[in-house]
Amino acid sequence: MAHENSSGVLSYARLVTVARISNLTVRYGNFTALDDLSCEIPEGCTGLLGPNGAGKTTLLKTILGFVNPTSGEGTVMDKDIRTDGMAIRQLIGLMPEQDCHIPGMTAVGFVSYAGELSGMPPAEALRRAHEVLEYCGLGEARYRNVETYSTGMKQRIKLAQALVHGPKLLLLDEPTNGLDPRGREEMLDLVRSVSHGRGVNVIVSSHLLPDIERVCDRVIVVIKGKLRTAGTIKDLKKLAGQPADVELREPNVAFANMLMEKGLTVTPPKGNIYRVQSELPPEELLRVVQRTALESGAQVRGFETAVRTLEEVFLEALTA
């Protein structure tokens, strides 16, 4: 990953694994939050999935160096989570789930204050605060008191304060919570642009699986304090046999029957979408499908290689 350092010389960071956690167990009293969990988080954008209470929050806390593990160990960017919390937090930006701001401050004041808390000199902090607020799309509103902000703006300012000190790892906890569709799209674009090609690694924890799908390359699924699944989204979504989904204008029984007569496997439709399985390459299959449609008086409105949704992947991991 190439990025320019302050002297303008290109340098190549050899960071391949952002965080490595091995056999980590965290207990609070009788409650085991993480149970002998091992995982490796490579660079790029990783989605962290799991039902409520699965230990996602504890994992984030662990990465921040807040938790004293009962056993096991972990490193974040080659720093030990048990002893090097401060150094780790210097490299991490956290965007928490809850609203958080410092009362009585403007957005610029707040973000530059956050920068100063991370050790930036005041002048640099202020300059950088303006820059980061620009990225986060807070235009003139940056001179307003944060307390008067709407939900969407509060989300942006949370991201801005997490980015101000130029973290190498960004932890985003439910970044799109409470955002309206446009706000969500902008937030996801922003996260994606920051995490791809800018040397910032991102871990996103979210219940909204389509969001994860949009920004992340990989996911890890934590259930009951254990790692259940990990891998790239592309691989996880693949379906055996690569069937195709055919969308018709309206459901048509004859169409399905005729396809089956031609020796194709058709699963019962969901609404007006038929899943068709065959040995043919996609373009050939399409020809067959379209001919059949013409014969049966159906109109094909969509034809795509079928995949599982991330939700199906997740639910499967949950019941496995």
Partner: protein, 255 residues
């Protein structure tokens, strides 16, 4: 209104829950200690005068303080922690809601006041006789009057706690001591008339500018009763009407 008793008892339970109420028990115990100390160091005073002094100086202040605190629990605290939504969207008529809750606050404050009075009486070894009983009736009446008034303030003003505290500590402490007939516009004067404490050893003081000798309280106890009951009734009627007609929605940002 069959729901009113439940609103009353549940609010009362909430206000009297041990964690919240412990502090007032501690205050009452402190009054026992204070009574002992006072008695030991003012050999000239009798049990009754000692009790009266402490009651007038401290117990009635505690009453006003408790009223300021518990009265905010009736409405404004609910608005602030936004839980008012749950109360307002139940099939409970709003006048019933506020009157039953105010009643619960008044009862709680009465209990706090009487507890402090009992502590004082125990500490000063005063008898639980006439003076004490008169005090109790004044405390109960005072609790109702303060609560009704403070609830009214909290309905009208957003951050009412400060105003109520200033009223309880500043106004109620200063006005009864003012010359002329001004003292008649403070609740404390009427309560003192009902309590009719025996003459009290004046506490000499040269560092508290407000501690002037004070006017002679000429309010008749009967008139005081009428005035206080009138105040409670008027305030409550107003509260019920006002609360029924106005919106109590927590401000939310973003929408």
């Amino acid at each position: 209104m069959s729901i009113a008793p439940f609103v009353f008892t549940s609010t009362l339970q909430d206000m009297l829950r041990p964690k919240r109420f412990a502090i007032w028990v501690i205050v009452a115990i402190a009054m026992v200690v204070l009574g002992q100390v006072f008695l030991r160091f003012t050999p000239t005073s009798t049990a009754t005068t000692a009790y009266s002094t402490l009651s007038e100086l401290i117990v009635f202040r505690i009453l006003a303080l408790a009223a300021a605190i518990f009265a905010t629990g009736v409405v404004s605290q609910e608005v602030e922690q936004k839980t008012i939504v749950y109360l307002l969207t139940r099939p409970v008529p709003r006048p019933v809601l506020i009157l039953a809750r105010t009643l619960a606050a008044s009862v709680t404050v009465s209990i706090v006041g009487i507890l402090a009075a009992v502590g004082t009486a125990l500490g000063t070894r005063a008898s639980f006789g006439d003076v004490f009983l008169r005090d109790c009736s004044a405390l109960i009446l005072g609790a109702f009057a303060y609560c009704a008034l403070f609830v009214l303030v909290s309905l009208l003003i957003n951050k009412s706690m400060v105003i109520n505290l200033i009223f309880a500590f500043g106004y109620e402490a200063a006005v009864p001591k003012m010359p002329g007939d001004i003292y008649k516009v403070s609740i404390n004067s009427y309560l003192m008339s009902i309590a009719s404490h025996p003459k009290i050893v004046p506490v000499a003081s040269d560092s508290a500018p407000v501690a002037t000798p004070g006017a002679v309280n000429t309010i008749q106890p009967g008139a005081a009763w009428l005035a206080m009951i009138g105040l409670v009734v008027l305030c409550s009627m107003f509260n019920a009407q006002w609360f029924d007609r106005n919106e109590y929605v927590p401000r939310e940002d973003g929408d």
